[in-house]
Amino acid sequence: MPFTSNRTPAVPTPASAATPAAPATASPALTIRNLTVSFGTNKVLKGVSLDIAARAVTAIIGPSGCGKSTFLRALNRLHELVPEARMEGDIRLFGEDIYGAAVEPVVVRRRVGMVFQKSNPFPTMSIADNVTVGLRLNGLRNRTLLAERTEQSLRMAALWDEVKDRLNAPAISLSGGQQQRLCIARALAVKPEVLLMDEPASALDPLATAKIEDLILELKRDFTIVIVTHNMQQAARISDLTAFFYLGELIEYNTTTKIFTNPAKKQTEDYVTGRFG
């Protein structure tokens, strides 16, 4: 098992501490430096540094428990919902420190949206109300504007044609795949700059998954997308860049082509070829 010998280097791997060996992007959407997140005494992320390219799809891969989801949640401060969570390091969104003393999490989350593994449209609301909830509960009242944004967001989420005749039907009357696209429309309606996706298609059938993947490729023209996935083929199909995490560390970060065809590290190769994980 060559992997085990690699896992405990005497000196910390330079990849996690120094500037990432990632392809340089002109102006990254997110710059993450020495990100360490712990829950109580359990260190989940250990000094991760990487740049997320703007208007591109970055895939985060790695075995369960490697800190992928925690990484994603640190990017919009959602991990703070766990009271014992502690974060160190520096995350900048287009140059702005999102953990700055004067920065409210609420504002960060409006700029960095999120779609979850399990689709979660609000059961008390109609399809249209679900799309505009982020706007309405932040004080937007103008009906024409809300209606415009509903159509716009549903079109971006490739759901408009399927639901345009029943916008007032309950959101939970939709199928699983439609519900997930509704959640994407809901996240897009507040016009975020970055969209985080935590295994958005893992609970869907292949057809619905294909629709979500097409949608992601469509959305990267306007949005920066970071997607956590367990599905290697999915990462290979839709992402421009791939980061491989293992045991809370960033092992390798490069273009998706490079990661899947000619990885620099043995661990990465073992993982993407399915030899472990």
């Binding site: 919009n76 959602l78 919902l81 999490p105 609420v106 504002v107 960060v108 989350r109 409006r110 700029r111 949206g113 999120m114 979850f116 399990k118 979660n120 609000f122 059961p123 008390t124 909830v133 982020g134 509960l137 932040n138 309950p170 939970i172 009357s173 959640c183 809901r186 996240a187 507040v190």
Partner: protein, 298 residues
């Protein structure tokens, strides 16, 4: 392929099944007994006068319990005024905010309070409020909230206090049932936490919260002991909430221990009406929860 004692085991199994079934049916038996006995004894005195007239003076026949029926609704309204906001907001705190140690103590206190006999509630409110009144000393000026003496205020207060722990616990339970995914989804949209709690979490659990409120109302609607010390009862219409007020259970109690045959008949009728009122509340709870179930599975 049968074990040697197969027949014996089958027989024992059948016997135990019949036995448990009989016990299950026995549970419903008291309900039918109560209903039929009250119907038989009370239906004769349930008439138009019963719902529209004041109690007749002692010794005369006729009259009704109109004031007691209205009084019960007034007391329940006052009780809801006290019990619903405190109970629901307390439940929201336990479920959505709060630190585990404080929550443990609040839950423990609520559970103990749920077990406090109702007569003790009555005595405490009598001792603290009916005897002395409730007032505030604001910068030397005395502001009276509840005057001393028996009153509708005191009766509503005692029922409301009894409702608080009931509503708090049921609200907490149904709020906890709201999947965390909804909270996360709302917060990830940049919605403030208080708005998330009010518009997403409470709204999702609203039917459950209303169910809890109705069950608490049904529970205190029949309370008699605490009202003897506080609302006291009244043979006439209640003109001010600062005066004693009639209530169905009180009127039933006074009539049932009274010396007249006609009073006894009216007490039975009152008991029947009270039971129907509580049944109506319970049936509405059933309808509400059934609706929620079908919605979740549609």
């Amino acid at each position: 392929m049968t074990a040697p004692n197969h027949r014996r085991r089958r027989f024992k199994n059948a016997l135990m099944q019949v036995f448990t079934c009989v016990c299950a049916v026995l549970v419903t038996l008291p309900l039918f007994l109560v209903f039929f006995y009250l119907l038989k004894s009370g239906i004769g005195a349930v008439n138009g006068h019963f719902f529209t007239q004041l109690p007749a003076p002692p010794g005369e026949t006729g009259g009704g319990m109109a004031n007691a029926i209205v009084g019960t609704f007034e007391l329940l309204g006052l009780a809801a005024l006290v019990g619903v906001p405190v109970g629901v907001l307390g439940g929201v705190f336990l479920s959505e905010y709060g630190h585990s140690r404080l929550n443990w103590w609040v839950r423990f206190a609520a559970d103990v309070l749920n077990g406090v006999p109702s007569i003790i509630w009555g005595m405490v409110v009598y001792g603290l409020i009916v005897r002395h009144g409730l007032g505030l000393n604001l910068f030397g000026a005395q502001v009276g909230l509840i005057d001393r003496g028996y009153s509708a205020w005191a009766g509503g207060l005692v029922l409301g206090l009894m409702m608080i722990p009931l509503i708090m616990r049921t609200s907490e339970e149904v709020l906890r049932l709201v999947p965390n995914g909804y909270r996360e989804a709302a917060l990830a949209l940049g919605i403030a936490q208080w708005r998330t709690v009010v518009q997403i979490v409470v709204r999702t659990a609203l039917k459950g919260i209303i169910t809890g409120i109705l069950l608490a109302l049904a529970r205190v609607a029949g309370e008699t002991a605490p009202l003897i010390f506080t609302a006291f009862g009244n043979q006439f219409w209640n003109r001010s909430l600062a005066d004693p007020i009639a209530a169905l259970p009180l009127q039933i109690y006074y009539y049932a221990i009274g010396p007249y045959e006609d009073w006894h008949r009216q007490a039975w009728a009152g008991a029947l009406v009270l039971l129907l009122l509580i049944t109506v509340i319970n049936v509405s709870v059933r309808v509400l929860t059934r609706d929620r179930f079908s919605q979740r599975h549609s």
